[in-house]
C-alpha cells in the first residue's frame, strides 16, 4: 500500500481565492509528481521534482500554479487565484526509480 500522504482530502474555495495542498512522499523517494484528474478522468501532468529541483512543468503551472518540494518539509501545490475550471482531484505521486509511481489518495478541490 502507498504511503504517500496528501492533505487536505477536500478543499473548497471561492473563485479568486488561493488554494494550497500538501504531499508527503514515501520515505526515500527522490521524485515527486503532481497531476490533475478532472471529472472526465483526464489526467494533466502539472510538475515534477527530483529532490528539491523542478524536472518538468507545463505552461499552466508557470502562470497561476506554484509548487515546491523543500527538504525536510512536505511538498506543496498552490493555486494563486482559483478558477472554476480548477475543480478537480489533485494527485501527488512519488517514485524511487524506473518510473513506478506511488500515488496518494488526492486532494479534491471544489471552486465555487
Amino acid at each position: 500500500n502507498s504511503k504517500v500522504i496528501q492533505t487536505p482530502r477536500y478543499l473548497v474555495k471561492g473563485q479568486g481565492q488561493k488554494a494550497k495542498m500538501r504531499c508527503i512522499p514515501e520515505k526515500g523517494h527522490p521524485v515527486v509528481f503532481w497531476y490533475q484528474q478532472n471529472k472526465n478522468n483526464e489526467f494533466k501532468f502539472l510538475i515534477n521534482f527530483q529532490n528539491q529541483e523542478v524536472l518538468q512543468q507545463i505552461d499552466m503551472t508557470e502562470k497561476r500554479f506554484s509548487a515546491e518540494c523543500p527538504s525536510n518539509s512536505p511538498c506543496s501545490l498552490e493555486i494563486q487565484s482559483s478558477e472554476a475550471g480548477d475543480s478537480a482531484l489533485y494527485l501527488c505521486a512519488s517514485s524511487l526509480e524506473q518510473n513506478t509511481l506511488y500515488f496518494g489518495a488526492g486532494t479534491r478541490l471544489s471552486v465555487l
Partner: protein, 114 residues
Amino acid sequence: AQSVTQPDARVTVSEGASLQLRCKYSYFGTPYLFWYVQYPRQGLQLLLKYYPGDPVVQGVNGFEAEFSKSNSSFHLRKASVHWSDWAVYFCAVSMSNSGTYQRFGTGTKLQVVP
C-alpha cells in the same frame, strides 16, 4: 507524441467471467507501459508494469497484460473477475527515462454483476 487510448469507457462482466480491458498506445520508440486501478475516493494503485522484455507481464490479484508492438496494444486480462474488482482502470505510457512523467488514458470503468 506519446499517448494512450482506452476505447471502452465502461465494461460490464459477470462475476467469475474472464475480463479484457483494452489499451492502445502511440509512441515512437520503446515505451514503458502501466496499468493502474482506482477505487472510489482513493488514488491510483499500480497493478502491473511493462519494461522491454517478456511481452506478458503478471501483476497483482491475478491480473496480467500483454504487450504487442505490431498492434500497439497493452491489454489487461483476468481469468476470473471478483466483485471487488469493480473500479476504474487506467493505462499509462512513459518514456524510458526515470523521472519522465506518464501519460494516462481516460480509464475504463469495470462493473461486476452477479
